[in-house]
Structure formats: structure tokens, C-alpha cells
């Protein structure tokens, strides 16, 4: 969403582009329908707005506000739309995942890719943008197609030994593709760029399997989070498990720091009370500030035992993220949804546990340094770094529920999104003397 200098946000059918530093409105575009999805092109010159209901994608140019482009999928419908890495092609996934149409902005040509797989993560681009991997399914079997993004040539096409492919992801070095199976089968396959199967990893049989995976930024490690509340780390040399991280509800090791969010008992100074109460005062009264306390170990986390007879149960490791310097891994166990576990990758041990008052919605690492931003659906944003952690109140009038957040690629700015609004959080850089 946030590019180097501009911030695009959409309201209903209007697309507003602002400057990141000043939030000044630079451009305003109007689309034909309610926008469901907005994406910048890789060179930050174009923005695509997808309207799934109408099946239309509109592309706007920043340099030339007059330039316009509209792609109509017609009766084929539209389910997903994304840019190609070169910023000149748009990939539209039609309804029912019938096909993927590749529209070129340079040549107005169209390519079709048949039988794409309807799964969680069916398209994956390499980091350098040269290759695209696409999951396909024909005749009840899974296949992977590798395309060269420059001319959309089909480079490789091979089948995978999966029951029902759930997702694919490239390693950051662009040479290994991780393919994992449905949650009924714990199976992850690693393919090299030229289509050879490098390795298969199965941790166990029968029980529910992989829920989420994450590559480390150096491509050295592959972290696999599964429904048995464990994260298994594979190494890139042998593709064998080097360690597994458990997420028990009781933390007993005294070397682990546990930060617990506690509410600060707000003492209202009677002198400052005025009538009618100002908005700030009202908001501050309604939202109780909180701070972090270091808890004594051993301590137990809030554990939720999910209903056993529902599909896709809320158990297991749902989210994983490596820090950009490869030193930390942040995980969330859906059984203890209030806690975030931070693991030290250099020592392969648990480092810190953050326990929040509410359920964690999302967290994201700062793209430049090991700083983690967390939001739990209340009006605060939480930051953790190895130096400590802090709970920051969003100074908005009324109620601002932070539902998701997003870092700027430069690392010093963060966008906090609520249902209807968003705000930008600027972090001051510490002066190094």
C-alpha cells in the first residue's frame, strides 16, 4: 500500500493519493464502482483499482493524471487482480478460478493461463521479479508452472506429490520454491528453480498439518507453523529439521522475558475536569491507557480450547514472520491468541513473550530493523524491539480501533487502519551520537 513517497487510500469509489510526509492530497481519482482492492505497480507509477462486483480493473497513472485504463473481464467475472513484477502486466483471476488473464499495458495483448488452482496462495513471484510460479490443478492432480515474467514463456511444468496443494512460496533468493499440502496432510515439498524436487518433509501423519510458513530473509531457514502448536525450522543445506519450537500455555523457563500488558489505573485529576468535557478528555477517559509489566516466570497464558467439531479450528501457529535482520521470528499460536512469541534465531531459543489484553489481530516487522508492531483491535499500537516494548495510544478523537497495520518500506512510518479511517504513525529515529 505505501510506496516511497505516496500513500494511496480508497474511500468507496474514490482513490486518494497523499504524500506520506505531509498527508497532503496529491491526486484524486474516481472509479466506476466500489473499490475492493488497490495495488501500486512496482515502479510506483501506476495504481490498479479492482472492482470485483463489476469485474472491472481500472489503472491510474501518477505522472499523467489524464491517462486512464480500464479492463473489463465481462462475463468471466473477477476474483483477484494483481500486478506483475515489471509493472506493465495485470493478472486477473476470473471467477471460479477458471483462468488467469494476463493483460499487457505495453502491447494490449492478452494471455490466458488455464486451470489455476483455487487455493490460499496460488501465485508467487520471485523477489527479483524474474519468475512466477503458478499452482494448477488438472484431472484431480496438482501441477506447478514456472513462467518467465519478461515474456511469459512457460519455463517448467511439473506435477507435485500433494493431495491438495494449499500454497506456494518462493525463497527470497529465488532458487527454491516451497509447496505445501492441505492441512489434512503435513507435507512440504521443496523444488528447485529448474523444477527438480529437492526434498520432502513430513513431520507426522494423520493429525492436522501445516497452517503457515515463512522463509527467513537470507533463505537459510524455512519456518513451518502447524496445527500441533509447534514451529519446525528446516535448514537450507540439508532441508532437514534443525529444531522445533513449542508453544505451551505455561512458560516456566526463568530466562524468558514476559511482557504483560496491564491497564494503568488512570487517575483523573479533578482540577483538570471541565464542563462540557472536551473530546480529548472524553476519549482518554474511555480508553484506559496501558503499559507493559514484566511478569514473573512461571506464568500461564490464556489458553483457548477450540470447539473440536468445527473445520479450520483456531488452533496451531497461524502467523509467522522473520525479522529483516534474520535474528528473530515472531509467531502467534491461535490457542493463545493474546500472546506473541518472539524467538531468537541465533540461539534457537524463546526470547520474549508478549501478552496482550486483547486478541492479536496482526503484527508486522519493520522492513529495516528488528522492530515489531502489533495491533489488537483496540486504540493502541504496540511496538517491541530488543531494547524493550511500548504501548502507544493512538491520539484520535472518539474510538479508533486499529484493525491492521502496515509499515512503510523506509521503516520509519507506519499506517494504522481502522474500519473507516487510517492514520500514519511516524517514528523518530534515535540520533546516534
Amino acid at each position: 500500500m505505501g510506496m516511497k513517497t505516496h500513500r494511496a487510500s480508497c474511500v468507496q469509489y474514490r482513490l486518494i493519493v497523499r504524500d506520506v510526509n505531509t498527508l497532503q492530497i496529491l491526486q484524486l481519482y474516481t472509479c466506476l464502482d466500489q473499490i475492493q482492492y488497490v495495488e501500486w505497480s512496482s515502479d510506483s507509477l501506476f495504481i490498479l483499482c479492482a472492482m470485483y462486483k463489476r469485474g472491472i480493473v481500472q489503472v491510474w497513472s501518477l505522472e499523467q493524471p489524464d491517462w486512464h485504463c480500464k479492463i473489463d473481464e465481462g462475463s468471466a467475472g473477477l476474483v483477484a487482480s494483481c500486478w506483475s513484477p515489471d509493472g506493465r502486466h495485470i493478472l486477473n483471476t476470473t471467477e471460479f478460478h477458471l483462468r488467469i488473464t494476463v493483460w499487457s499495458l505495453c502491447t494490449k495483448s492478452v494471455s490466458y493461463i488455464k486451470y489455476p488452482k483455487a487455493c490460499q496462495q496460488g501465485i508467487a513471484f520471485t523477489k527479483d521479479g524474474h519468475y512466477m510460479a503458478l499452482a494448477e490443478r488438472r484431472d484431480c492432480k496438482d501441477f506447478i508452472s514456472l513462467f518467465v515474467c519478461s515474456d511469459w514463456q512457460l519455463l517448467r511444468h511439473f506435477d507435485t506429490e500433494t493431495q491438495d496443494l494449499a500454497g506456494i512460496e518462493w525463497a527470497p533468493n529465488g532458487c527454491v520454491l516451497a509447496v505445501w499440502d492441505t492441512c489434512l496432510e503435513y507435507k512440504i515439498l521443496l523444488y528447485s528453480l529448474d523444477g527438480r524436487l529437492l526434498s520432502t518433509y513430513r513431520a507426522y501423519e494423520w493429525s492436522l498439518g501445516i497452517k503457515s510458513i515463512a522463509w527467513s530473509p537470507s533463505s537459510q531457514f524455512l519456518a513451518i507453523g502447524s496445527y500441533d502448536e509447534k514451529v519446525r525450522i528446516l535448514n537450507h543445506v540439508t532441508w532437514k529439521k534443525i529444531t522445533e519450537f513449542e508453544h505451551p500455555p505455561i512458560i516456566a523457563n526463568p530466562k524468558i522475558i514476559v511482557y504483560k500488558e496491564v491497564e494503568k489505573s488512570a487517575t483523573v485529576e479533578t482540577q483538570k475536569l471541565s464542563f462540557p468535557p472536551t473530546r480529548e478528555l472524553a476519549s482518554s477517559l474511555f480508553s484506559i491507557p496501558s503499559k507493559y509489566d514484566i511478569s514473573q516466570v512461571p506464568m500461564s497464558l490464556q489458553y483457548i480450547k477450540p470447539v473440536a467439531d468445527r473445520a479450520n479450528p483456531r488452533i496451531g501457529i497461524g502467523t509467522l514472520a522473520f525479522s529483516p535482520d534474520n535474528c528473530f521470528l515472531a509467531t502467534k499460536n491461535d490457542n493463545t491468541p493474546n500472546a506473541i512469541w518472539i524467538w531468537d534465531i541465533q540461539k534457537l531459543k524463546l526470547f520474549v513473550v508478549l501478552e496482550q489484553l486483547c486478541t492479536v489481530n496482526s503484527f508486522q516487522w519493520d522492513p529495516r530493523q528488528p522492530r515489531l508492531a502489533i495491533c489488537t483491535g483496540n486504540s493502541k499500537v504496540y511496538l517491541w524491539s530488543p531494547a524493550g516494548c511500548v504501548s502507544v495510544q493512538v491520539p484520535m478523537e472518539g474510538d479508533f480501533q486499529v484493525l491492521s497495520l502496515c509499515w512503510h518500506s523506509g521503516g520509519d512510518t507506519m499506517a494504522l487502519l481502522s474500519k473507516d479511517n487510517f492514520c500514519l504513525c511516524y517514528l523518530e529515529r534515535e540520533e546516534v551520537k
Binding site: 497513472s61 480500464k70 519455463l155
Partner: protein, 566 residues
């Protein structure tokens, strides 16, 4: 008393026999008053040949009356009527005799029967006893057997209970596993159902759409509207997809892969080299640790270490050479790892041994040798500590004295100068004294030489004197016949005077010798005393040496004196 034989006599026997037996039985009950009678009646041992003779021993032709009266007495005491017709008469009442005899027979029979009964009963009891004992033994055996059986049964019972418990446990485990599997199956089933439902919904939607499409005549056109074409990112024109481009793409892909692999390999090589270096270092350090302690295990005849270490050292040399060329072949790697493993094991063994020794020392389980040495060690340490104390005190006192000397109220320069002056003065004094000492030494040497010469001369002179004396005495003796008296007196006088003269001469020489001696001695001794007094604070060895020389000198003189006085 004599041997009394108890003979079981068959019941009907001769009267005499019964009499005799009763006599014997009655005689057993005899009172001491009738001992005389007993003696009279007692006869030598009857032979077993004839019982008649035995039975006729009581009454013979001679003592009929006596035996009758005796029998009467006995019978009356037993309650039988008297044998005599009247109380005092000598006529025997035959009837009463016969009655008595009959009574006695009856009594005898009764007694025999009773005896038989008793014996019978005794036998019966004996057999009963035997029987009971047998029964008892059998019952005891049975009891033992049944006890053993019980123990065996108990053991079996226990084993069976154990087995039972195990089986219960296994059953529980199996049940748990079954439960777990059932849970898994249930969750999988729900997931399948959910997916199935989803797919079905999608399928339905597809059907609807298809239906719609079929029904719908107006087809929305699928098209893209764009104002103008956008240039490519790299500014070039788009090209057709040809075989060449395909080949190029393949090439690019392989290049990217190779690049990645090469990078990986480089990293691994670097890591390898570092690790190998570390291993080499470790090996060297381990080798350096082991040899100095090789002496201890030598006692325990570990000959394996010696040759192994030499091998390892050879290996080290080899590997060092090889590593310079950075070979990474299998054998080199194996050698290195094996050698390090061996050394590490040795080091570990050694450390374990040391640990054991230390633990033994700590636990106090020492041998006598160790105990004594420790005591000695402690004593020595105490001694050394005392010595150190003494030395420290001495140093302190010396320092204090020095301080006192230097703590005169002057400023630093003068004190320094003064110190120097003192030192110089002392040194000069010492030098003078040394000079004196050396001179005296020389003098002593001279005198000793002169003494020896004098002694030699003395000896020679004495010899000469003796010879003269001898010749003179001869002359005297020869001339004694002539003018013996006068000449004698004179000569004796002259002899004495001569001798005295000689003596005097000797004395003079002695005195002369003495005089310089005495002259020299007195001042020398005085000087020596002075020197001795002057050097109390100087180094003691000097004084001691002076004293010794001084002591030795007078000893020599004394000897010389003694010689001369002899």
C-alpha cells in the same frame, strides 16, 4: 551287698524254690538290725548249673530250727498266722504251714499276673507310643508339604496379579490411543465435510452461472480500453517469443541457479576452512596439554599413549602440510576427526583421573604416606612462616635503626652527605684495619718461619751440645784419674756454668726470640683486641675469621713453648 540275681521262676515250682525266692525278696526289705542274720545266711554265689542247690542254700540240716523261726517271724509280720502250733512251742502247725504256703503261692500267682498285666500294658503303651510317633511324623511332613504348597501358590498369585496389572495398563494405553485416533478421524471428517460442502456450493454456483450464460443472449464483451500504450520499464520494444528467446530464458534460469549454488558452496568452503582451522588449533592445544602430564600415567604402564602421541605428532606435521594446500579429501578429513577424537578421549581420561584423585583427597580416604607428607608439609610451612616472621622483624629493626641514624635533624642533602660520610668513614676504617690485619698476618708468617728455623737450629745445636758433652765427659773421665777433685769442681762448675751459660744462651736466645715475640706479641694482641672491639657492628664473618686466626696463633705458640720446655 553281693550279687543278687532275680530269676523269674515259673509259677508251679518246688516249695523250696518259692521259699528261696521269697526269702530273697524279703531279704531285700531287711532292716539293718538283721544284718548279722543276713551275713550268716548269705552264701557264696550260687552257680547257675542247678537251681536246686541255689534253693537249698537257705535251709540246711543244721539250721532248720532257726530257719523255721525266721520264717515264722517273717510270716507273722506279713499277717499270716503263725507256723507253730502254739505261741511258744516248737511243734509246727502243718495246717497253718500249708495255708501259709498256699497263701504265698496265691500271692505269687497274683503278683505274676499283675506283672504280666503290667508288662502287657507296657508293651501296649509302647506300641501306642510308636504308633503315635509315626502319626506325628507323618502329620509334620504333611504340614510342611502343605506350607510349601501355600508359598508356591502365593507366589503364583502374586505373579498373576502383576501380569494383570500390566495387562490393565496396556489396555489403558491402547484405549487412549484409540481415543486419540478417533479424535483425529473426527477432525479429519469435519474438515472433509466442510471442504466438500464448499466445493458443492461452488459447483452449484457454476451451474447457475452456466445456466445464466446459456439463457443470456447478450454477451458482455471482454475487452480492455486503454488511452495509449505504456512504454516498457526498460524502454525497449517488446519482442516476439521465439526459440532463441526460449533458449535464452532457460540459460538465464540455469545461470541464476548456478550463481546461487556457487554462493552457497563458497560460504560452505569458508565455513569448512574456519572449522578446520579451529580443529587444528584445538588439536595443538590438546597435544600441548597432554605431554607434561604424560609422566604420571607412565607409572601405570600406559604404553599406548607414547606411540599414539608420536603418531599424532607425525599426523600433525602431515596435516599441517596438507592443509596448506587445502585438500578436502575424505581420508584427510577422517584422519583429522579421528585424531582429534582420540586426543579428546585421552584428555578426558586424564581429566577424569585427576578428578578422581582430587575427590579422593577431598574425601579424606588417604594412605599413610600421604598423611605423613601432609603433616610434614604443614610443619615445614609453619617453620617457613616463622622464619619469614623473624626475617621480617629483623628487617624492620634494621630499618628502624637506619631510620634513627638518618633521622637526625638535618635536611635531606646533609643527611645524605652524612650518610655518605658515615659510610666513607667506616669504609676507611675498615680498610685500615684490613691493612693492619694483612701486615699482622705477614708478620705472623715471618715469625712462624723464624720459629721453625729456630727450632731446627735448636735441634741441631742440642745435638752438637750433646756430642760435646759426651766428648767432654769422656775427657773428664779420662782426666779424672789425674786431678779429679779440683778439676771436677771446676769443670763441673764450668760445666754447669757452661750448661747454664748454654742454657742462658739458650734462654737468651729464647728471650731474644721471645723479646721480639713479646714485643711484637703484646702490641699485636692489643691491636687484635682493638680490632675485635672495633668490629662489633661490621660484618660478623670478618670478626669470626679474625678470631679464628688469633686463636690459632696462640695455639701454635703454646705448642712451640711446650716443645721448648720439654
Amino acid at each position: 551287698m553281693g550279687d543278687w540275681k532275680t530269676i523269674t521262676v515259673p509259677a508251679p515250682s518246688s516249695v523250696l524254690d518259692s521259699k528261696n525266692t521269697s526269702q530273697y525278696t524279703s531279704e531285700k526289705k531287711m532292716s539293718p538290725s538283721s544284718l548279722n542274720m543276713q551275713q550268716v545266711l548269705r552264701l557264696p554265689l550260687p552257680s547257675s548249673k542247678s537251681t536246686h542247690s541255689f534253693f537249698s542254700a537257705f535251709c540246711t540240716e543244721e539250721n532248720v530250727e532257726q530257719s523255721i523261726s525266721y520264717l515264722n517271724r517273717e510270716l507273722t509280720t506279713l499277717g499270716f498266722p503263725s507256723l507253730y502250733a502254739e505261741s511258744k512251742g516248737k511243734e509246727l502247725n502243718l495246717i497253718s504251714i500249708l495255708n501259709c504256703m498256699n497263701e504265698l503261692l496265691v500271692l505269687q500267682r497274683k503278683n505274676l499276673r499283675a506283672q504280666e498285666d503290667v508288662e502287657m500294658q507296657h508293651l501296649k503303651l509302647g506300641s501306642d507310643m510308636d504308633h503315635l510317633q509315626n502319626c506325628y511324623a507323618k502329620l509334620k511332613e504333611q504340614l510342611e508339604a502343605s506350607k510349601r504348597e501355600i508359598v508356591g501358590l502365593q507366589e503364583r498369585d502374586r505373579q498373576l496379579q502383576c501380569k494383570n496389572r500390566n495387562l490393565h495398563q496396556l489396555l489403558k494405553n491402547e484405549k487412549d490411543e484409540v481415543q486419540k485416533l478417533q479424535n483425529i478421524i473426527a477432525s479429519r471428517a469435519t474438515q472433509y465435510n466442510h471442504d466438500m460442502k464448499r466445493k458443492e456450493r461452488e459447483y452449484n454456483k457454476l451451474k447457475e452461472r452456466l445456466h445464466q450464460l446459456v439463457m443470456n443472449k447478450k454477451d458482455k464483451k471482454i475487452a480492455m480500453e486503454v488511452l495509449n500504450y505504456v512504454g516498457r520499464v526498460d524502454g525497449k520494444r517488446g519482442g516476439w517469443r521465439t526459440d532463441k528467446t526460449e533458449a535464452r530464458n532457460e540459460e538465464e534460469m540455469y545461470k541464476a541457479l548456478l550463481r546461487d549454488y556457487e554462493q552457497c558452496q563458497k560460504q560452505l568452503l569458508v565455513e569448512n576452512a574456519e572449522l578446520r582451522k579451529v580443529l587444528q588449533q584445538m588439536k595443538k592445544e590438546i597435544i600441548s596439554l597432554l605431554p607434561p602430564q604424560k609422566q604420571k600415567p607412565r607409572e601405570r604402564s600406559e604404553d599406548g599413549i607414547g606411540p599414539v602421541l608420536s603418531d599424532l605428532e607425525d599426523d600433525v606435521g602431515e596435516l599441517n602440510k596438507e592443509n596448506m594446500w587445502e585438500l578436502s579429501c575424505e581420508t584427510v578429513r577422517e584422519q583429522l576427526t579421528n585424531s582429534i577424537r582420540n586426543q579428546w578421549r585421552m584428555l578426558k581420561n586424564h581429566v577424569e583421573k585427576l578428578d578422581n584423585q582430587v575427590s579422593r583427597v577431598h574425601s579424606g580416604a588417604l594412605t599413610d604416606k600421604d598423611v605423613i607428607s601432609r603433616e610434614d608439609h604443614e610443619l615445614e610451612t609453619e617453620k617457613l612462616e616463622l622464619e619469614i616472621q623473624h626475617c621480617k622483624e629483623m628487617i624492620k629493626t634494621q630499618q628502624q635503626l637506619l631510620q634513627q641514624q638518618l633521622m637526625s635533624p638535618c635536611d635531606d642533602d646533609t643527611t645524605v652527605l652524612l650518610q655518605d660520610c658515615y659510610l666513607l668513614e667506616e669504609r676507611e676504617r675498615l680498610q685500615e684495619e684490613w691493612k693492619l690485619f694483612r701486615e699482622q698476618k705477614k708478620n705472623f708468617e715471618k715469625e712462624r718461619r723464624s720459629f721453625t728455623e729456630a727450632a731446627i737450629r735448636l735441634g741441631l745445636e742440642r745435638q752438637a751440645f750433646e756430642e760435646d758433652r759426651g766428648t767432654w765427659l769422656k775427657q773428664q773421665f779420662l782426666s779424672m784419674t789425674c786431678d779429679s777433685k779440683y778439676l771436677e769442681n771446676v769443670k763441673t762448675q764450668s760445666a754447669t756454668s757452661g750448661s747454664s751459660d748454654q742454657d742462658n744462651h739458650l734462654m737468651n736466645t729464647r728471650s731474644q726470640q721471645k723479646k721480639p715475640r713479646s714485643l711484637s706479641s703484646v702490641p699485636t694482641s692489643a691491636e687484635l683486641c682493638q680490632t675485635i672491639q672495633h668490629t662489633p657492628y661490621s660484618s660478623s664473618p670478618c670478626a669470626i675469621s679474625n678470631k679464628t686466626t688469633e686463636e690459632s696463633k696462640p695455639n701454635q705458640w703454646e705448642e712451640i713453648y711446650r716443645e721448648e720446655t720439654e
